[in-house]
């Protein structure tokens, strides 16, 4: 399991994630050096998928922390189960247990709601879990600093309980859509990999692997189309995710080739912003189709 670079490539391929040696080397190094893996790239290139695939390859749990603006320590770490605590207090009111004892029991592990980071640290599975910290650029600097602390020692102190240290460090995968620059300290902690849009050949391979039942000629047309679209100027350029959606949609509709009508009908798979869809008018579609057919 993750014993050699070739093995990583092979096992990821078996899980239908087609990638190149650069990624395999970086994953290999991250795993053996015990450093987090930082994946940066445009939306839809498959960053989050890496975390999921690695968990399957390693045969371990995937613990996912989805970052968002306003995310802070309590949502990422733990929260006390207030409802349960209050109910316990009410229940104990009639009973004979001394108050101190009840008080102490209220702040035990039983009453903690574990959020992803604590889950990852307190995991006692045979194989360390994969901790996927998704879209870290959506959180803020404060959270980044906090994350850095946690990632340095894999140790969390809960005042009422004590310090919990991870028995084995989880394999950490951090992704970023690069909507802002991450703090230097976090970047330095990680091994960095930029995931670009795939080449035509690679994208074709991905489509043929993940969308069984698609005709190769249609897949090729599709991929050429997407390569062209990404060269043009849109607000939100489509990623591989959109290509796969589109391929599946076309298979479902039973289309065998890309015609103007087909494209116009299924454009929603490719563009998700009104201004982009509007800009991509009839003549543009026609001329693009000519180039790719």
């Amino acid at each position: 399991m993750l014993d050699s670079i070739e093995e990583i490539l092979e096992s990821m391929r078996r899980e239908k994630y087609i990638t190149d040696r650069a990624m395999a080397v970086t994953i290999y190094l991250a795993y053996h050096l015990g450093k987090p893996l930082l994946l940066e790239g445009e939306a839809g290139v498959g960053k989050t998928e890496v975390g999921k695939v690695l968990a399957r390859v390693m045969g371990t749990n995937l613990i996912r922390l989805q970052c968002y603006e306003g995310l802070d320590a309590s949502h990422a770490l733990y929260e006390w189960n207030y409802a349960k605590q209050i109910l316990t207090i009410r229940l104990e009111e009639g009973g004979g247990r001394p108050r101190e004892e009840v008080g102490r029991s209220l702040f035990s592990e039983e009453y903690i709601i574990k959020r992803p980071l604590l889950e990852a640290i307190s995991s006692d599975s045979l194989v360390p879990p994969v901790l996927l910290i998704d879209e870290v650029d959506r959180s803020d600097e404060e959270f980044e600093a906090f994350l850095l602390e946690v990632l340095s020692d894999f140790q969390i102190t809960i005042p009422e309980i004590g310090t919990l240290t991870a028995k084995q460090a989880p394999f950490v995968v951090v992704t970023s859509n690069r909507t802002r620059e991450l703090h230097d300290a976090l970047k330095r902690r990680c091994l960095y990999l930029w995931i670009p849009y795939p080449s035509f050949e690679r994208e074709l391979e991905i489509v043929l692997t993940k969308v069984p039942g698609i005709k190769e000629t249609l897949a090729a047309q599709l991929c050429r189309f997407m390569q062209e679209v990404r060269r043009m100027d849109f607000y939100k350029r489509p990623g591989i995710a959109e290509t796969l959606d589109w391929a599946s949609a076309l298979v479902l509709l039973g289309r065998e080739e890309l015609g103007r009508e087909t494209v116009e009908e299924t454009l929603g798979c490719v563009f998700k912003y009104y201004e982009d869809m509007r800009r991509f008018g009839g003549e543009q579609i026609a001329s693009l189709l000519e180039r790719v057919s």
Binding site: D20, R21, A22, D140, E181, Y192, W194, R202
Partner: protein, 396 residues
């Protein structure tokens, strides 16, 4: 998992490569990268050594990947790293030295064009010389004080590069100031006991529903409207640099330029190298140095292009000298509308730097009543002050 201290005593895989050679080459290579602007620390060098233990050094591709994973931490650094790697570790420069995927094929168009203007003389100098790196630092850092006070319009070409670097360093500080929350809140969602107890009255005193309270997080958004007409020419190139740096450091910044028309340039500035951004801009903006019609541009911002962008959390910054060929009433009216929607409206005027300046031109006179702040923007110090003003606003 503790990181192991690299044990370089272990024999290498092949007899051709001597341990000392590799290490000293790595040190020089890192120095070279530092010259070229990458932030490479000794810590990273140690990490590289640790990484090399796990791969076959003779495998060029793996060697490249191992170095890149440790030494590069930003997308912009990739082409610089590639160029340096090729020049340093390969005898003959080859166009595609490493396999597909390593250099990001199918990536952003124009990526390879960024390698072009790279200064290879510093590369050669770095490889030849043995002197301490400090000596090879570019001149111009010494009279820093003078530089921050010097008016942008008076800069000569060699000072421009230094100034650009300083501006780029300034932007993150402003970004930090702006992203700080209104109230530092470590506990996040709080329990609102008062409301919980109130609610419990419905249930005969049993607390069944837990009411929560969240502290308000107030983050400022920025909208920048920059005048790029002829009269602003001398200042534009620095202001655009500043805006570019700010755009890439901060989330929630929307940038526009205007002269006779208003154009959104947020996407064009995002993440590309400065060169490419400028190319993109000259493509997008039809009249870079024409006359100005501020009122009409603000109107199109208010009504179409900027619709939905300005609310109570937005700070709008207009950078212009106020020389306007349009109707003054239109300008005043649009300023009024903008001011009523935005949290604060800041007018930056490069001409304010001159001690003899008086706001006599009708454009400025019309806009002044609707500006919350009227500040200079003619040198670095004024940009620093802007940073402080914004910091104050985000705390308010």
């Amino acid at each position: 998992m503790l990181r192991e201290i690299p044990n370089l005593e272990q024999p290498q895989a092949t007899p051709d490569l001597h341990r000392e050679d590799i290490l000293s080459n790595l040190v020089v290579f890192c120095r070279l990268l530092r010259e070229m602007g990458l932030h490479v620390t000794t810590g990273k060098l140690i990490d590289v050594c640790a990484s090399l233990k796990h791969i076959q050094i003779t495998q060029k591709q793996d060697f490249y990947c191992a170095l890149r994973a440790n030494l590069v931490s930003r997308y912009e650094e990739l082409p610089i790293f590639d160029a340096a790697f090729r020049a340093f570790w390969e005898k003959a420069p080859q166009p595609e030295a490493v396999d597909d995927g390593c250099c990001g094929d199918g990536g952003e168009p124009g990526l390879s064009s960024e390698v072009g203007p790279l200064d290879l003389t510093s590369l050669e100098a770095a490889v030849e010389e043995d002197g301490p790196p400090e000596e090879r630092l570019l001149p111009g850092y010494s009279p820093l004080e003078m530089l921050t006070q010097k008016d942008f319009s008076t800069f000569c070409e060699d000072e421009v590069a230094t100034l650009r670097r300083l501006i780029a360093r300034l932007a993150p500080k402003i970004a930090t100031a702006l992203s700080r929350r209104r109230k530092v809140d470590h506990r996040g969602a709080e329990l609102d006991l008062r409301r919980s107890l109130r609610r419990s009255l419905r249930h005969g005193g049993d607390i069944v529903e837990l009411m929560r309270r969240r502290r308000k997080v107030r983050k400022l958004k920025l909208v920048l409207l920059c005048d790029v007409s002829g009269s602003m020419d001398l200042y534009t190139r620095f202001l655009i640099q500043f805006i570019y740096a700010l755009q890439n450091e901060l989330r929630g910044v929307e940038t526009f330029v205007f002269s006779t028309r208003l154009t959104r340039i947020t996407q064009a500035l995002r993440h590309r190298g400065m060169q490419q951004s400028l190319q993109e801009l000259s493509r997008l903006v039809p009249q870079w140095s024409g006359g100005t019609n501020i009122g009409a541009c603000l109107k199109s911002f208010n009504e179409e292009i900027g619709r939905g962008l300005v609310d109570g959390r937005t700070v709008v910054i207009i950078i212009s000298d106020g020389w306007d060929r349009g109707e003054t009433e239109l300008l005043a009216e649009e300023m009024r509308r903008l001011h009523s929607k935005a949290h604060k409206l800041i007018w930056l005027n490069p001409l304010l730097g001159s001690p003899s300046y008086q706001p006599l031109c009708k454009g400025i006179r019309a806009a002044l009543p609707y500006s919350d702040y009227f500040l200079p923007a003619h040198n670095l110090e004024s940009l620093l002050d802007l940073g402080r003003t914004l910091q104050g606003l985000s705390r308010a």
